[in-house]
Symmetry: C2
């Protein structure tokens, strides 16, 4: 153990490099297909360093998810401090989630591939928590909008899912492997369409 601690001590960023390598390898090659040896080679560390920080591949995956969720949570906290009309708050919130999704594209890709793909033996992680958290905050903004009569009374649930859907489809366009066909500006226009309705008056 003394030897490992010394190795870690001379590589102060070894932990971050392992997290970055895990994100990259798990996303591009899949969780199941990536071995501890490959992770260590990609991070430029020896196996004992990985075992020291994360215990095993499962531990590394879980730490990657936890740190991603923490970053996501602090973004949410920042986004909901914004004040304005409901439509301004929704646009600000969706834009912020979209931006962080684009900045951490590989994290979103990894979540999608674990969520929709074969389980791959990855340890359980409540990936729904990201989605549910977004949905809850959108619902709160909508509820405030109904209270102050900016939004008409109706099913907050249906409205929240609609906003989530518009955000989701644009984020999906940005995590697939080809050029996205819609961008953040389109998302904002789509939210405006939902506010104003597309039916001719």
């Amino acid at each position: 153990m003394a030897k490992v601690e010394k190795t870690a001590a001379v590589q102060p960023d070894a932990k971050d490099r392992l997290l970055a390598a895990a994100l990259d390898q798990f996303t591009r090659r899949g969780y199941a297909s990536t071995t501890v040896r490959e992770l260590c080679e990609a991070a430029g560390v020896t196996k004992p360093v990985l075992y020291y920080y994360f215990k095993n591949k499962e531990g590394l995956y879980l730490e990657l998810m936890d740190s991603s969720y923490s970053l996501f949570e602090s973004t949410i906290t920042e986004l909901i401090s914004f004040s304005g009309t409901s439509s301004q708050c929704l646009v600000h919130f969706c834009q912020g989630i979209f931006d962080i999704g684009c900045q951490h594209r590989q994290v979103v890709q990894l979540c999608f591939s674990i969520y929709y793909g074969p389980p791959q033996g990855a340890p359980e992680y409540d990936l729904d928590s990201f989605y549910t958290r977004i949905l809850d905050e959108i619902a709160k903004i909508l509820q405030r909008g109904i209270l102050c009569e900016e939004i008409r009374d109706g099913s907050v649930n249906d409205m929240a899912w609609s906003i989530l859907a518009l955000m989701n489809v644009v984020i999906e366009e940005h995590i697939c492997l080809r050029e996205p066909r819609i961008d953040g500006a389109a998302m904002i226009r789509m939210i405006q369409l939902l506010f104003d309705g597309i039916r001719a008056k």
Copy 2:
């Protein structure tokens, strides 16, 4: 070859069983992790039967995708023969796509896992063609709606992506592994919200 043909002749449904086994194995275990031997075992056929019908695993995957696309295409053809107002046509179309997605849930799951997951070595298949086809038909309905002044003039592209997004989020809820939180009825209410707008008048 004579022996293979005889084997195939006594198993008239061998081809369909191989397609069904491939869909099930690729979806649950992943394309890369599934071997020809496992596919044959699951279908209850010998390897020469698989080689006879599909040449190899790649051929089996491509045939599975092609037959799925054919089924999808014939559903589209049927759905667009419906007549009614634009909102009725959109609801009918989205409901039909949602229904076929639920009936062929594993196909949708497989497409999602290949699209968002690690490439897994699966041969190239234009998975975007499903999405683009849906988007085009939604745009046509919207254009007719604008022409007959049921829908206000504006960006057909933004409107089509909005409708697609509402349909997409509900389908996604139905292909993940837990109980879906929204259903086809919610999708229809969400489309109505987009038509009428959520802003208080």
